[in-house]
Each structure stands twice: as structure tokens, then as C-alpha cells.
Assembly symmetry: D2
Homo-oligomer: 349 residues x 4
């Protein structure tokens, strides 16, 4: 803590998009002071070299991670890629509280991790200790966690609408279809040829059909909510936009339940939540209405097919789907107002 009580924060892997987004949000957060920024390839460079839009914020230069003086750091956001975060986090001193934005600590089962991420976890005890940080659902555990595994963008979009419905037993645990549409920033700044404007704009395609790594993460959390194993059909699509995830979710209602019951369950669950909002009856959520904000919008629809319902959720993958939720978790951990630094109004158009 600084003399004025500000949390001294390090951002590991500051040269990518989630790092930049954290810095954008932190710039309007009175309780956070950026104490250190790391970037391996760009060590020694000023932030403006990687992020011209942040050049004027007076931030420290980016350094190699082993050059950070951790005595001056209270907390860290880890924005490193999957597979690299686990060792970096394992190397941090114990007084540093961490929100990790990678997938490294999200899966609690070591075997599931090994199967989907191609190898043994290299920090298994931390994997056990980590708290899965879907803030609205796990707020109490986040508060006291040392290490929070920030949920994936797709998973946040799937779990926020589905968990209350499963907890209340309103929908079947089988046959859940999650058709998700994402903007390009989800692929990160190292996207390569597949992220080129020429390869993305004016087109759409599915990818990772029946094999995307967010499926086991979704199933883990839905299973916990349902009290039984859940298998989902999850298909992500790449859309010609920078930000935004829309999840269209098809569910089978349990006997007697109606779409209105799902709506009521969601309304109850999120009544006092600042960042989760139900759209009015009949109005479908749009990602443009959450762009740049930490909001998640949810719509509920009765299907024409009897006994079925459709849930639609929208969020900004870089905010509620990544850096925004990370800051929200840090706010909870540090005892700040949970909304500090988090935009509640979209930048539209």
C-alpha cells in the first residue's frame, strides 16, 4: 500500500490487449497505483511503444519479470499466455495477491487440465488453491483468496445465464447447446495470419468445433451448480469485430418449468448486481450495448419448440470477459468498492 492507501499493482505481460485494458481501467481507479509492468520481448521499452494510446499516463517502463522489486508490490495481474502463467505465478513472493487471466488455474482437476492443455501442470498445489473468480457467483471465496483464476471470456458468457437455472433445477443438464460468437481481440495480439483484417473482416466461421478448451471449464462450473456432471455442446465462432461475445444458449426445460421461470431465477440472482442485467422481455442483448463496459446482458426467450428455451448473453470479452472482471475481483480482494474503475456505460456507436 502506498502512503495514501493505494494498492501497488504489477501487471505481468503488459504488452498485450488484456494488459492494456487493465491499464486503461486502472487509470480511472483512485485506489490503484501501477507499480511495475513486465514484458519479456519488449523489456526496457516504454508503455507507449506497445500501446500508443497509453503513452501519456506516466506509467513505469516495461521490464523483465526478474527485474521487479516485489517489496513495492501488493498485488499482481498476470496477463501471460496459457502455459506461461503457472511458473510466473509460482515464482511470486507470498505477500503478493494475484489475479491470473490465463487458463492455467481454472481447471481444478489435474487430469482434465493435462488432457486439454497438453501436459502436466507445473504448479499443482497452486492449481488446488486457486479460486475460480466468476465474481457474482464466487464473491465470498474471492474475498480471501491469494490466487484468483479469472474465468475465460466464453465461459463467463455461458456461466452467468446458466448457473442460476441449473442451481434451481429448472433445466436439463443434458443437451445444452452454447453457440458463441466472439470478436477478434479474444485471440490476442499474436494472432498471426488468422487474425489479419483480410482474413477476418466480411466473413464468419466456426472454429474448434467440438474441441475448444473452454468446454471443460464451462462443464466444471455448470457441474458444480447442477450438483451432477454436465456435458455441453459448445461451438465458438470468429466474427469481424474487435470486441464482444454473444452466447446463444439452447436449453431443455425440466418438467413444468417455463421460460418465465428462468427469467425469474435470473432476476432474483442478479437483482443487486451492478454488472449483470436482464434485457426487457422480447429484447435480445447486443454486444454493442456493452462495448467497453463491464456489463453482461442476459435475455430469456421461450422457444417455439415446446419445452425449450433460449438464453442469450452479451459481454465485452476484454472487460467482463477478462480485464474488467479481473479488476472486479481485485476490488473484492482489496476491500474496494467493487465497481471502482469499471465502466458501466458502453461506448456506442
Amino acid at each position: 500500500m502506498t502512503a495514501n492507501g493505494a494498492l501497488r499493482v504489477a501487471v505481468l505481460g503488459a504488452s498485450g490487449y488484456t494488459g492494456a485494458e487493465l491499464l486503461r481501467l486502472a487509470a480511472d481507479h483512485a485506489g490503484v497505483e501501477i507499480a511495475a509492468l513486465t514484458a519479456e520481448r519488449r523489456a526496457g521499452e516504454p508503455v507507449g511503444a506497445a500501446h500508443p494510446h497509453l503513452a501519456h499516463l506516466g506509467l513505469p517502463d516495461m521490464v523483465a519479470i526478474d527485474r521487479v522489486d516485489w517489496s513495492g508490490v501488493d498485488a499482481a495481474f498476470c496477463c501471460l499466455p496459457h502455459g506461461m502463467a503457472q511458473e510466473a505465478v509460482a515464482g511470486l513472493p507470498s505477500h503478493v495477491r494475484i489475479v491470473d487471466l490465463s487458463a492455467d488455474f481454472r481447471l481444478r482437476d489435474a487430469a482434465t487440465y493435462a488432457r486439454w492443455y497438453g501436459g502436466k501442470h507445473r504448479a499443482p498445489s497452486l492449481q488446488k488453491e486457486a479460486v475460480y473468480g466468476l465474481t457474482e457467483i464466487r464473491r465470498d471465496r474471492v474475498r480471501t483468496a491469494r490466487l484468483v483464476a479469472n474465468p475465460g471470456c466464453y465461459t463467463t458468457a455461458a456461466e452467468l445465464p446458466l448457473i442460476p437455472c441449473l442451481e434451481e433445477g429448472l433445466i436439463e443438464t443434458s443437451g445444452i447447446v452454447i453457440d458463441a460468437k466472439s470478436g477478434v481481440s479474444g485471440a490476442g495480439r499474436q494472432a498471426g495470419e488468422s487474425g489479419l483484417h483480410t482474413e477476418v473482416s466480411e466473413g464468419v466461421h466456426a472454429y474448434g468445433v467440438a474441441g475448444h478448451r473452454h468446454a471443460p471449464e464451462i462443464e466444471q462450473e455448470l457441474g458444480e451448480a447442477a450438483g451432477e456432471a454436465v456435458t455441453v455442446t459448445f461451438t465458438p465462432h470468429l466474427l469481424p469485430m474487435n470486441r464482444g461475445i454473444l452466447a446463444t444458449i439452447y436449453v431443455t426445460l425440466r418438467d413444468g418449468a417455463e421460460a418465465g421461470d428462468l427469467r425469474a431465477a435470473l432476476a432474483r440472482r442478479y437483482r443487486d448486481e451492478p454488472f449483470v442485467r436482464l434485457t426487457p422481455q422480447g429484447q435480445a442483448p447486443a454486444t454493442r450495448h456493452v462495448r467497453g463496459s463491464n456489463l453482461c446482458l442476459i435475455g430469456v426467450f421461450a422457444d417455439r419448440a415446446p419445452g425449450r428455451a433460449i438464453l442469450v448473453s452479451a459481454l465485452d470479452n476484454l472487460v467482463k470477459g477478462a480485464s474488467g472482471q479481473a479488476l472486479q475481483n481485485m476490488n473484492v480482494m482489496a476491500g474496494f468498492d467493487e465497481t471502482a474503475g469499471l465502466p458501466r456505460v458502453a461506448v456506442f456507436p
Copy 2:
């Protein structure tokens, strides 16, 4: 017919996007001569006033429909909006063969039409006579038809992959989920505020959830293929691109069937079709690979959830989903090479 055997064609409603697309394709079709163009609001104007990119083609000016000399016209494409086409088509002399691109003649059941299109059909005998023109499936009936009802863009994308699977009894007729993603041109040139760049770009939303008019059209054709009534869950989405439809279709396999059986059925059915192609195993179709062409790509995937499969189709809504299929149908009707004037290579990037 002209002296050199060219079909003399009129385009009704030439000022919109499907009209323009027909003119683009016809410009490279040696057997078609544009004899008349109609447009009500723009009657008297040259084509270039509505379509600068067609100004140099030496086309006739647009006129009011009652100014056309039908004795010089062999065939017509009707590009008028839903609800306006039926009376225009009913007023054409009997020697003119017609492909109607609107929804007016697609539904064979008068009551279904009235329920979804808000009123009684005003040309019920033509409605009965019209042949539904999904060319690959109905080629024989199209050949001799006087009036072809050109399928909708969403419906073409849904029916081409599903019909062979249903015909062979490989999938259940219930629980079919069609999650469709469309570019903006599908809304036409009178889209209004909802079609503005500011309202569409950098975002995605679902619309007409559980209530889109293409659902009964899909169900009619799938029902015929299955030999029993079919109810589908159909959700269209608006994407920030001009052209393209991607349909991600979730199906339940009948006992014993596997995803490979679907692939085999589709391969058999479309082996000799110039415009329907299966993507290689594991490769998902992308709309950018059909942009501007008359192709429909289909991919088949086994789902992780046992007993389920995923079909993905991609087409250009203005070509195979509208004007291209219309010209393909006219080629069949006129005895031309079915591929004449129809691009088989996408404009990419």
C-alpha cells in the same frame, strides 16, 4: 427469344440489392438479354442512378411496371418485397416464366402463410402452382415450372445440409437447432436505422428469436424430406458484414448413426453438384470462401456430446441465397447450362 436465341429477361424491382446482383451475374451470361427493368419510386431513372457500379453496362432505364411491353419479354425475375410480389406476378401475361425472389409463393399452406405474413394471400391459385426452387433438390420440377418460388437465404443454408440427412433417416426430426448468422444485405436497401453502419458494425445480436418467418419455410421443406412434421429451433443473428450466411446446425443422431454417415449421405447427394461442396474433414466452412460466388459449403462434425452431430453451412446470401439461385433456376427452366453466369470462385480477401 432474341434472334440469336438469348432469353429476353425483365427484372422487377431492379433498384434493390437482389436486382443489382442479378444484373451483375447476367452481364456475364451470354444467353440472357436484359429487356426491361422496373422500379416504382425510381421509374424513369437510368440504372446508374441506383447502382453506379452498373452504369456502364448499357442497360435499359428503369420504368414503372405498367410501362413494360411484355411481348418482348420471355422471363422475369421478381425482386419486389414480400407482399408486393404476389400481385405483380399475378398481373404478368401467361407466356412469361417467372422466378420470384420474395417469400410470397414459398409457403404452400394458405393458413401458414396467413399466420406468418399477416393476411390472406392475394393470388392463392399461383401459390398452389408455384414450385419451390431449391435447385439441387427440386431440379426436375423447376424445369417445367412457370413460376418458381426462390428459397430464402436462411432456408437454403439450412435445407441443403439437412434434407439429405432427413431423407435417409439419419437424424431425429425433433430437437434440430439452427443457429444462423447473416450479413446486412439480407435486410435489403430499405433497412433504415437498424441497418446503419453505426448500428451494425463492431457488434452482433440475435433477432426474431423464436419468431422468424423463415422457420415455417424450413419446416415445410424439412417435413417433406422427413415424411413427417418437423419443428425447428431457428435463431438468426445480424453480423457486421455485408454478405454471407453461416448456419450452425445441431442435430441428434438416430440410433446407430454417426457423424460419418451424415458426411457420406451429403457426399452422395451432392457428388455431381457444381455449387455444393463438402469441406475437408475437420475444416469448418467460412463465408469469406463463398463471397460473391454461387457456392454452398457444408462441414460435418461429430459432437463431444454422444449421439449428436454438428452441420455447418456457408453461402453468400445475395448469390446462392437469392439472385444466384434465381439465375440457376432460370438456367434450368430455359435449358441453359445450369452454371452459366454463376461464379464458382469467391472474391477473397
Copy 3:
């Protein structure tokens, strides 16, 4: 003023994009309370009907302008279209201070106004009284103004780089070429066919060549800076993006002057300005680095052609080019911190 000292503000014409943007910014401005919103066609509707992304802010419903109780209003932003603002502003009680975002009060010469805007001004005395609100240049006059004419988006982008160079006599007053590129939101929400995604995306064109209404506004302000009449060549272009203006400005250097002198003059002029920033030597401004913020970036380049230089400026047309500068002006008028409510970090990517 409210009991806690907040300025009670009305937004006239709240259903468009500049109105929405003002409400977005005001939501984070502790000193501003939205007291009334007007919209003629949508009178009686909640804000969320026009702007779903603002539905949750607890704002008053939109009403017809004659239904506003002005005794509860201290200040107004007028977001009405050109030609409609003058009468609305003339009808406001004298205690209400106004920032008008239309072009109605920007031109001080009545004859110039009549020539470019097609008719006699209907509030000529207000036209004389109005202060042109390019904040960085006119701050002192803005402070005490009752009516501020907020500059156009193109003009702000042209004037901020050019005025210091002209004031210091570093460039010729003739031969100035301003090649400007704008996003679509500048055309407003009633853009019609020309603003459709299909007509804008994947393309670029010039418009209003040698005849755009911002030219006389630019010339008025540059002339005042230069102390002599200035004629500019100004060509706007429409680009496939929602927000942003980039102005590439070609100037002839006065004898002895070099590009470095322009840079030095700009650096001096804007050293203490929070929202105007020079890019580092050799780095061209990009609109994506100001998106959503109130920043204006300026770059200075020596041309290869001897005796010539190139200035490039970038801003967000809805923020520094409209609602942001309007709020900045209101901050000055009300004695608030000039940066209150105004984002200084772009939303990127």
C-alpha cells in the same frame, strides 16, 4: 444548481448520437445532473427505447421541448440538427446557459451563413452573441458566454493544428489543403441509405468535394488566427468506421520556416493542455488511439517537396469533435475542473 451544487442540465435532441454521447460522459461527471431530455418524435419514451445502452442509468424520460420546466434547469446542450437549433435556443429562458452542437451559431457573418445554409438566420442577435467554442483557443471567452457554438468535428481537427502555425506566421495562408477522413457517426442517426452498412463498409469515397459546409467555418477561424482572409481546399471522405476523424493537412512554409518550427509552435501552444498531444517525431496519429476519448493527437512532418510540411490530426468526432468538447466547454462555463467527465484514455482495440 441542486442542493449539492450539481449543475442541472437539459439535453435537447437526446435521441441521436451526440445526445447519447453526452449522457455517457455525464454519467461519470459528479457535478452534472440530467434534469430533462427532449426528443420530438420519441417524446414520452424512456431513454432506453432510443439508447438501450443507457437504459440502466435512471435518466428522466424524453419529452417534447415545450414540456420542460426550465426553472429546474441551469444549462442545456442543444443536440438538434442544423436549422432547428436556432429557434429552440432562441426560445430558452435567459438563465439557461447553452452549448449548441449544431452549426447554427458558428458562422459570425450573416451573409456567409445564408449562402451555405440556404437561408436567412432566424435568431440573428444570438448569432452575434454566440462564442465559438474551440476550447483550447477560446477558453476565456467561453468562460463567461451564455451561448457557446460548439465547433464542427472536421473544423476542430483542422483548426487545432493550423491555428498556432498561422498565429505565428509560419505558413502561407494560401494553398492549404485539408484532406479529411471521417467515420459514419458524423452523419447522425438519420443518415438513411447512404449510411447503411452495405453502402459504407469495405469502401471509401469523397463527398461534398469543394463544397462542404465546414469550409467557411474553417476559413473564419483560420482567418482570425492569421489576421487575413484564408481560403482552404477541404475534401471530406467517408470511411468504414463508426468514430474518428483524421485530417491530413498540406501546407507551404513561409520563408525560412521548417517543419520543426511548426512542431515547436504546437508544443508551446498546447504544453499544458490535457487533451491536445503531439505524437513523437515520425509517428503518425491514428484515430484508434483516441477512440472514445476527448483527445486530439497532432503529428508534424517535413515533406519531401522542399518548403512544404504535413500536419496530421486525429480525434473522435463524437467526443472532441462534438459532445466531449461540448462538455469541456460547459466545464469551463460552470467553473468545474475542465477535464471532469472527459475520458483521457482511448478504448483500444
Copy 4:
């Protein structure tokens, strides 16, 4: 030549965008047969691996350049990057006629080449021999050339409008400002981070200000047309679109000349040209009206500033700005109809 008289063509560097575009165009060219495709990194792969949209054309696999049997090849398109083309071209047997799409043979002056491309030319005799292939201007020399240097995309857009005006002495040779706007495909498929959708969409920036390599190429050709040295101010901009170049060109009229004289000169020069068209008086060219076609549109405008005029040109950088003009040149060289395989209608919207 094949038995049926088709030209047997090789495409060197077939895995990029200009290679793909050549293959798209050649697919509709009855006189061309693709005999060989080369790609270094992807040698051994089928075309569909690099270009799924070309997978169904029955093309030969891509091979390393040293694996080509040149006895079966009549002509080659060289789509290799700048700097790599010169050695590849130098290594081709003398019976193979070549259109090189790189910049390697465009500059006739060895010193100018060395200054702008960072080193001595490695095939100086070929550099001398090469014919600059702006087809409409150099058709006669192209006809008999063995090696044609295909013009750059920016340069084609600048030269087509300017050359006739300079030839007729209607405009000053100094003070020409070319403000050019390009889509992303101009950067090629190896664009890297700067070509990512996230870095390009929803934004615009200038690049290579006062230092782009197309400037000396433009000056070379304009100088030849004018009969004296010409220095231009040339500023390229990157726009969020895939295809298209718009050049807005500001010129000073020679004594007595008017904008109408420029229009008349261009009309005369291009009257019989199939691919160069003047837009109607007052109508600005748009890149969307040439997308996918080999057209170049030119507009002429009187400026408000006396004695000045504005020329605007639009073309598709991958067609008339690269592969289309290359095929046009090959048509001239081979004695084919010059328009064979070249689309004259844009794909819009």
C-alpha cells in the same frame, strides 16, 4: 501453348493474395492454363491449403521454384516480394515471358532503386530491359516485351488521372499532392501485427509520410509524361477495408486551364478504354463500385480555391492495382482479347 492454343502459365509465389487473385481471374480465362505454382514455405501443399476458396479448381500443387519444368511453361506471373523477384526472374529461361508484380523492375534508374530499396540491384540488365506496364499508357511496348514490370497499386491510381493532364500541359508539375487511401490487402498476407483486425478496423492512420517507396515510381512516370522532373507529395493511409485504393489528388492549373479541360483530356485519352471510366460530373468515385473488378474510376472537380482542381481515382488494389493489370498485360503480350478474364462489374454491396 497447349494443343488448343492455351497459354501455359506459371505463378511464382502463389500462396499470397496477388497469387490467389491471379488464380481467381485465370479460372474464367479460356486462353490460360495454369501449368505450375510455386511457393517456398508451402512447397508440396495443395492450393487449397493456402487458399480454401480455390481448392475445387483442380490446380496443380504448389512446388519449390526449382522443381518447375519450364519446358511446359510459356509465361509466368511473379508474385514474389520486393527484393526476391529479381533473382527469381533472372533465373527463368529465355522463352518464358514474365509479368512481375513486385517493385523490382519498376525503377529504371539504378541509383534511385538503390536509394529507396536499400541496395544494389542484382539483375541490372533486366532492370533496363523491363517495360513498365501501365497498360493504357504503354500498351505498345508491353506487346513485345519479354519482361513487364507491373505498376504498384498506389502508382496506378495516381498515374492514370495525372498522365494525360501532364502530357497536355494542363497542370503545374510542382505542388502535386496525392493523398491516397488503401485497404489492408495491399500489405500482403505477411502483414503481421500491423495488419491484425484489431489494429486496423475502426480506425485510420497515415504511414510512410513523406517516405513511401511508391513516390519515386510515381515521379518517374509523371516526369516522363511531363517531359521534366516532377516531385510529388504522396501520403498513403491505411483504411479498415480489405480492397480498394482511393487517390485524392490536388493540382494547380496552368494559366488558362480549367477543371473542364482536365476532364476533356481524360475523356479523350480513355474514350476507348474498357477499364478506365470517368464518373459523371459532380459524382465522386467510390472504391466499392470497383471492388473485385479491373476498373479504374476517375472524377474531376474544380476546387473552390481559384486555379486549382481535384482529381479522384478509385480502383481495386488487387485487380487493376495488381493481378488484374498483370493479366491485362499478359493478354496484350499474348495477343488475347485484352479484357479476357477481367471482371468489368464490381461485387457490390
